[in-house]
Symmetry: C2
Subunit: 145 residues, 2 copies
């Protein structure tokens, strides 16, 4: 599935929160298996990102339809997406807000990046198919992580 709503929660252990609509096929899978892979696409994959968000795994094999390559994960059963520059293998560690808010808290148990994608530009969804693409990178002096 395509997921817009997510954030970091903790550095150590690395925790991520995300919202998965209970209308989605992935909601049922994530609640049942308590595992997923968050695969992070660069801008070149944007058309596939939108296409994947506009159909359901109930009806189609998305790897096949969008010509993406499943790659085995090390710590969880669901596959990585080989074309993505980063893949985060995750396990659900807190489900208290799932029933009310569809909000899962995940621990990243293994993280991978593709060294062949050196400076991937990420995309930020602004709604209705509009995305901001990474532009300039700035570095300011900070004592904080």
């Amino acid at each position: 599935m395509t997921m817009s709503w997510h954030m970091m929660v903790e550095f150590e252990p690395p925790l991520v929160a995300c919202v998965v609509s209970n209308a989605n096929h992935s909601f049922t899978a994530l609640r049942a298996t308590k595992e997923c892979v968050i695969a992070i696409p660069a801008v070149e994959l944007a058309p596939k990102v939108v296409g994947i968000g506009n159909c359901s795994g109930r009806d189609v094999d998305k790897f096949e339809r969008f010509s993406l390559t499943p790659a085995p994960a090390e710590r969880v059963a669901p596959p990585q997406i080989a074309e993505c520059f980063a893949n985060l293998e995750c396990q659900v560690v807190d489900a208290r807000l799932v029933n009310k808010l569809n909000l899962f808290v995940l621990e990243v148990v293994k993280a991978w990046n593709d060294p062949a994608q050196k400076h991937p530009k990420t995309i930020y969804h602004r709604g209705n198919g509009r995305f901001a693409v990474d532009g300039a990178m700035i570095k300011l002096k900070s004592r904080k992580p």
Copy 2:
């Protein structure tokens, strides 16, 4: 305070989740008052964003030190920041993950934007004072919000 970790949770009512470290002055204030304003800065404010994140409201008046203008909010007691292009007045609606994860769920009860800032570029924190600045905007055909 400066906050990096936040995400949307629901469209209607508009909900936002955020993580505020329990080491922060703002954590105590948010937990006690159950209200805040999320003020969203454009890239021009980046040096102030970092400066604000590197000191504590226990020690300094940040509005004064960083020459920012507090403006009255309509629905909550804490002030808006006049220099920010958007101000979201928020109330805590779910605190179940606060003790364990410092994660607050907020409802945006009133949202403002500054019409004088027509195309604000936002910044995305990558850690240690590094930020990605909005670059190109792309629009793909999507049936999803």
